[in-house]
Amino acid sequence: MNPISSALPSDSLHLDLVTLDLATLSPLILLAAAAVVVMLAAAFYRHPRPVMILTLAGLVLSFTALFLPFLPQGLAGTPSPQVTALLVLDQYALFFTGLIVAATFVVAILCYRYFGGGESRHEALYILLLLAALGGGVLVASSHFASFLLGLELLSISLFALIAYPRFTEHPLEAGIKYLILAGFSSGLLLFGMALVYAQLGTMQFVKIGTMLAAPEETLELYGLAGLALIVAGVGFKLALVPFHMWTPDVYEGAPAPITAFIATVSKGAMLVLLLRYFLMAGAHQSQSITFALSLVAVATILAGNLLALLQNNIKRILAYSSIAQLGYLLVGFLAFDRLAIEAVAYFLTAYFVTMLGAFGVVTVLSEGFNGGSAGEFHGAAERDSDRLADYAGLFWHRPWLAGVFTAMLLSLAGIPLTMGFIGKFYIVTAGVEASLWMPVITLVVGSIIGLFYYMRIIAMMYASGSEAAGEAITLRVAAPSFAESAMLAALVLLLVWLGIFPAQLIDVLGGTMVNLT
């Protein structure tokens, strides 16, 4: 796939797509193509197994295509990462696209048994997953309000359908509708915000906004500032930052467990990555009031997430509040706005992806799932997932490996050494201390102390034995995991521990990746 026409002037800010740009875009194109292929395959041969294999193949191909820009180039010149004004596939975008594709891979595997395996008709799920991943990929690569909105809508619309996929069951349907309303609302806010920024500056390109604001006499006026605030609010809904977090626990609880994993990782991660790019490229971090507001939001998010998690008795709700708190931690690193901050956010986000996928993976594996019978008729064996705290009583004594995986994930969320979560939190605190953000850093410390309570509560429950467990575990709701699921969880734990002990490899990658943003 070497560039054929590398001699061409790569003035690609105009809409003249050349082969070179197609090569650059190939990870996203392959995702889109995979969605089409999977749809056609499902139309002609309705069976979930080949469909899933095709999906996985598409994801693997797209992942491989990420490495194209790193091939030794035959002739002079490397393809420009900027493809039209809309998308920029720089190393920053490539790294996070890789993360999103990998997470989608894990979720696709977790979905298979959960939605009934070969017995059910859940092919459409994979198309939606691929489209959502494509939306995420577009988001992390977008450098323009138009692509921002396109990616966002692609992601959100796929997610409504995914959340409400078991559509004859009450909770997922409720969660889907809640998500639909809130996502629509937040898109509205975003659009209005973009319009206001456009009204002041007359451009929708992040870079141009940045260069205009860099001029000494130019600052955001009331219009632009209000626009920026609306954008932050709209993104805040997606990221479930306090005070825009109300929907999170309900949706997390109601959605099928693997889809919850997807929302917690891909959807949130892509938005955060985009926000960071916007802030750095468009120079939004120079606005004192916005950064001050964001630091207040970070403090509120950490405290509210951790405190509310204490009151929950449902694992999915605890994890939902925990993910709110984790996003608050991320925001602390985010607020440093320098090279270290980007690295910190990238490392923490990677750790967060691995951990959340692992945690919800365990919930998935333990749940019966929705076994579809005849087409469209989901008379699931389970009205709910195995998500009550009591379902986990004494888990260590009858399913030691699964309990071990869950323990590792929870310890990583709590930031205990030997896990990626520890290095991630260390990174974030480092970035915060370096930028002297004392208030958010101290809140982070207090928040993670509070967080220990509920993580330890789950762990204590899993290791409880005898009388402590007997009273709780009346009905043992434990499904048998498939081989693929077990392998996936094992791989996640290995990654979690390996990168927790030897983080230098990932840090080197991040260090090379993140330079070009600032």
């Binding site: 205990i416 605190v429 850093v441 204590a460 840090i507």
Partner: protein, 500 residues
Amino acid sequence: MILAALIFIPMAGGLLAWMADRWYPGAAKWFALVTAGIEFVLAIWLWLQSASAMALPAHGGWLGETRAEWIPRFGVSFHLAVDGISLVLVVLTAFLAIVSVACSWTEIQKRVGFFYFNLLWTVAGSVGVFLALDLFLFFFFWELMLVPMYFLIGIWGHENRQYASIKFFIFAQGSGMFMLVAILALVFVHYRSTGVLTFDYFDLLNATLSPSAELWIMLGFFIAFAVKTPIVPFHTWLPDAHTEAPTAGSVILAGVLLKTGAYGLLRFIVPLFPEAAAHFAPVAMVLGATGILYGAFLAFAQTDFKRLVAYTSVSHLGFAVVGIFAWNPWSLGGAVMQMMAHGISTGALFVVAGILQERTHTRDMQRYEGLWSVVPRLAGMGLFFAIAALGLPGMGNFVGEFLVLMGLSTSSSVLASVATVVFVASVVYALALVQKTFHGENKHGWQLHDLSGREMVTLFSMVAITLWLGLYPQPVLNAAPNTANSPPAIAVAHHEVNVE
């Protein structure tokens, strides 16, 4: 390389023990015993090797070093080094590892492999804490040892284990987070003045800090060490954790984990922040003295055997705190001695408590009474270690307490005289312990079998060490940090404080 081996041997041994238990039930404890034995032999060998070096007065203090790159992005290296104080603490840790394997021999019946895994990983974490000279590495081990300890209490503990284990974990972990922020603040202050991002202890010793920054950063470290040591307002986790832990957990907690806190005060607080420590020393010494008295007074109010012993730990470690902050040759020697002697004598008392509980299924001293006639050998041991704990001359604790008080009286005679009152209180609790448990008539009709050979060997070796520490303390005192080697500022600053 031998330093890294000291950490990795218990880790590998723990994994082996866990694996072995799956294939050969009953093999786990042998693996654990052999691992702890190898660790102990290695540590002793290292001590003998360097004994001559320690006797020399001006040798710089460091006996061995290992350094490897770890996370170059942050200037973090895998940097281990050993000096006298680390060395004696590692020896103590290795010895108590053997003791705790021996005392769990029949006590632990479920999930044996996982138990020894946790035990040995706690040991590995503590050895790492004693050897690490990179602040990141130190923090890594500091947090790492908590998780297996949590499991030891939470899975194999007694009735109220969930509460105690979670409380222990949150206290230790939470205070550790403050230390993390303090470490990073120190590193970045150093980075801004020199442009070198490093977590290395020796580099950070030269960091120049403004007085207020120094005080705040020191407090961040202090809170973590104060929880672990424990210093009085932060001690509330200790009675619960010690009481609910299985015997081996109590032994390791009292003997090793508490020492990591005192070690931190000695290794980091005073050398890294000499001026702030000097200004803070009066406060810390008052807290230490309060702990000495408070722990002793609460001890004799207890009816639970293990709870009583737990409160005596608060009292004994108070001596170590006072000794460290008085910072003169006598008090430092006394502090190190006190750490060693407390590790052995309190460990032994917990072993006695464990043996009693294993046989009687209770820790309530009101239900014991008159056990001397039933289990004379055990009762003799109980008496010996109770007397050791109260500080009778000829045993290790006496040397430690005496030296601390001697050193303390040169800097604050008032505090020294207040702290001396504890000798009355400790006699009361020690004798109360013996009388309630062993003396009197056997009203409850206990019929117990006396110490087995394994238990005799364990306790006799501890008796021998206590006597050795009491009669010939010089080898341990040689290991104590030499004030001549450490930054002189504290001595000077100290002097100024006293003059004021």
